[in-house]
């Protein structure tokens, strides 16, 4: 209809989505969300182009990608930063060049540079994950002190550091109280194969382990493989909790091998970032708050069938202007 037709002479919108690592399914969902938003906008007859960059977890590469996006004179940068500090100089350049910056999933250190951030607080999410783990341990009736293994991600990455903080926020008081004993704290670099190999060696040291908490699902799934390989039953002998709710992990929750995982909504993080950018650029929208939290859900067997409704479907951006 006439109403939906783009204004004559209006130039095409170009958004750049800078993803930290497309090798991780989690960020693929983020990209999917962004692409869903673009599709929706296109269906309304708005000409939008989305350029997706993959930084492969390398801050330097992401800096370069931001620089390149600036060179292409995009209208908005939707950044999923590899590191909150490392890309600041490049983001500053972007802002200087008059480009709208929105951060998604992870924020940057200098909050004045971006219009808004949409995502979850990783520290908060990690706290929820450990709390779920403790809850499971309590339910299991295992004797205290509970012996817990922690597998961390790549040191220095925001996700790894925040989740490490979240884990310790909850666990440290319990350790002091004598309820929990941390038997091993290793790095498995967010990788499934490392998760497997590291957990195998930990199990060789001691099989008296009650629970494993991992900074992402890939490592948790690797750990589950190791637990099964050791002739133990994940979920019963050893309780495993992951993070990110990637499809494999959701299956594992269904199968009872993983007690819980944390579902953020990468889909909505991508979706809201694009929608927000559109509102800002085209409609001059001013977001009411500079942090738009996406839903966080602890996925357990109880809600494993329904949680995706909450997180993987387009939802209106809170506070969005009317069409």
């Amino acid at each position: 209809s006439l109403y939906l037709a783009p204004a004559p002479g209006k130039k095409k919108l170009t958004f750049a989505l800078l993803v930290s690592n497309l090798g991780n399914p989690y960020f693929v969902m983020l990209k999917d969300g962004a692409e869903a938003a673009v599709k929706e906008l296109k269906a309304k007859g708005i000409e939008v182009e989305l350029i997706v960059y993959d930084a492969k977890d390398d801050p330097d590469l992401q800096v370069r990608q931001i620089e390149e996006a600036i060179a292409k004179k995009v209208d908005a940068l939707l950044i999923n930063p590899v590191h909150k500090e490392a890309i600041l100089p490049a983001v500053r350049d972007a802002v200087k060049a008059g480009i709208i910056v929105i951060t998604t999933d992870r924020d940057i250190a200098d909050k004045s540079l971006r219009v808004f951030f949409t995502g979850t607080d990783n520290v908060y999410g990690a706290e929820l994950a450990v709390k779920a783990l403790i809850e499971a341990l309590e339910k299991s009736g295992k004797p205290k002190p509970w012996k817990i293994v922690i597998l961390h991600g790549i040191p220095g990455t925001t996700a790894a550091e925040d989740r490490k903080k979240g884990f310790h926020n909850v666990l440290d008081p319990l350790v002091k109280k004598g309820d929990v004993k941390i038997v091993a704290e290793e790095i498995a670099y967010f990788r499934r194969d490392k998760g497997l190999e590291v957990m195998e060696s930990i199990l060789a040291r001691t099989k008296e382990i009650d629970a494993v908490i991992c900074a992402n699902d890939e490592m948790a799934l690797g750990a589950i493989q190791a637990i099964e390989g050791a002739g133990l039953v994940p979920g019963k002998d050893i309780i495993v909790v992951g993070y990110d709710a990637i499809p494999d992990a959701v299956e594992a929750v269904k199968a009872g091998k993983m007690y819980a995982t944390i579902a953020q909504s990468p889909f909505l993080q991508g979706y809201w970032a694009v929608m927000g950018a559109y509102y800002i650029v085209v409609k001059g929208w001013k977001p009411p708050k500079d942090f738009i939290p996406t839903p966080v859900v602890v996925v357990t067997k109880a809600n494993v069938g329904t949680f995706s409704e909450e997180v993987a479907k387009p939802k209106p951006l809170p506070g969005a202007p009317s069409e």
Partner: protein, 325 residues
């Protein structure tokens, strides 16, 4: 009596001497030394479970090391093992899961793709005359890209059936038997066949091999292809161990494969080294990581210790040279 025991002790000395002069003695001693040190340092080390884990972890790396060592013996180098194993694992998984082919076909498809990557590497080296370092660097990069394209960055699930490789046959899992089988096969191939002889000869003096009327290019092509097959089998093993085809399998594995070969006594200049050395090299490398975790060493310090052990092992292996490159 005295005479006899003297004689048998003399015989023992002879055997010991022969052993010392054998190429595999140094890597073996290095392995044994580390093994004993590990057993002393950590009580958990010698448990059957840990030994089993060690064998399982070593198996894929040993396969990579066998392939890599053949290439190094020819005086070339291969940076593609990691990407090739991932690609083969991915293709096998896709064949099995998406195309619903029987397991055997899936395995064959994986091995075929490994062979293909190796074959292309071989062509680049022999026909396009690109130094193996660059040719296989391109394969490393492009191969990983192919994996990401094929998987879309997502692990391919549903590989329970690949468990035939992790399943026990008698006391050990299939893939550990496979590792032993390939150790023997590799020994046999490199020691008793023409092909193996030519691999050593090319590494020793390629010019002489060519002047002798031997088709060195063909041998190189075959060897790169076979190495690709070895990497592919390692990829299938990783699939089986993870029960998924994980797109980042083998990321960085080229350095481990090369280090295993070198720790196994294969000289980087080519032509010298025992075919079973890389087996010990791979074991040593796996063992270091394992025992550091067993001992609960801070993960950051694990890196440093690993570097130091590498240096120590290398010194033990390369004594007596006037200078090195």
């Amino acid at each position: 009596m005295g005479g006899r025991s003297n004689r048998s002790s003399h015989q023992a000395t002879e055997i010991l001497k022969a052993f010392w002069q054998h190429e595999v003695s140094k890597p073996f001693i290095a392995f044994l030394g580390l093994f004993i040190v590990s057993a002393v340092l950590s009580p958990a080390f010698l448990t059957p479970y840990n030994q089993r884990v060690l064998a399982l972890q070593t198996a894929p790396l040993a396969l990579l090391a066998f392939g890599e060592s053949m290439i190094i013996l020819m005086g070339s180098i291969d940076l593609s093992p990691g990407s090739t194993m991932a690609l083969a694992g991915t293709v096998a998984a896709i064949t099995f899961v998406h195309y619903k082919q029987p397991l055997a076909i899936a395995f064959l498809a994986g091995i075929a793709i490994g062979a293909l990557v190796g074959f292309i590497n071989g062509l680049l080296v022999t026909k396009a005359k690109i130094p193996s370092f660059v040719a296989t660097l391109a394969a490393l990069v492009a191969g990983r890209g192919m994996v990401l394209i094929l998987t879309g960055g997502q692990p391919i699930v549903g590989l329970r059936a690949f468990g035939v490789l992790t399943m026990d046959i008698g006391p050990l899992p299939t893939m550990v038997w496979l590792m032993f089988f390939f150790t023997v096969l590799n020994f046999f191939l490199l020691t008793y066949t023409r092909w193996g002889r030519y691999i050593y000869a090319i590494g020793g003096n390629e010019e002489a091999v060519r002047c002798s009327g031997i088709n060195a290019d063909l041998i190189k092509l075959m060897t790169f292809t076979l190495a690709g097959c070895y990497y592919a089998i390692a990829g299938l093993m990783m699939d089986a161990r993870l029960e998924v085809a994980y797109p980042w399998t083998g990321w960085g594995a080229e350095l481990d494969a090369i280090a295993s070969s070198v720790l196994g006594g294969i000289q980087l200049t080519g032509g010298v080294g025992s075919p079973i050395g890389p087996f010990f090299g791979a074991y040593v490398l796996t063992l270091i990581t394992n025992v550091l975790i067993l001992m609960g060493v801070n993960p950051f310090y694990q890196w440093v210790v690993k570097g130091i052990v590498l240096v120590v092992a290398a010194i033990a292996l390369t004594r007596g040279l006037r200078y090195v490159k």
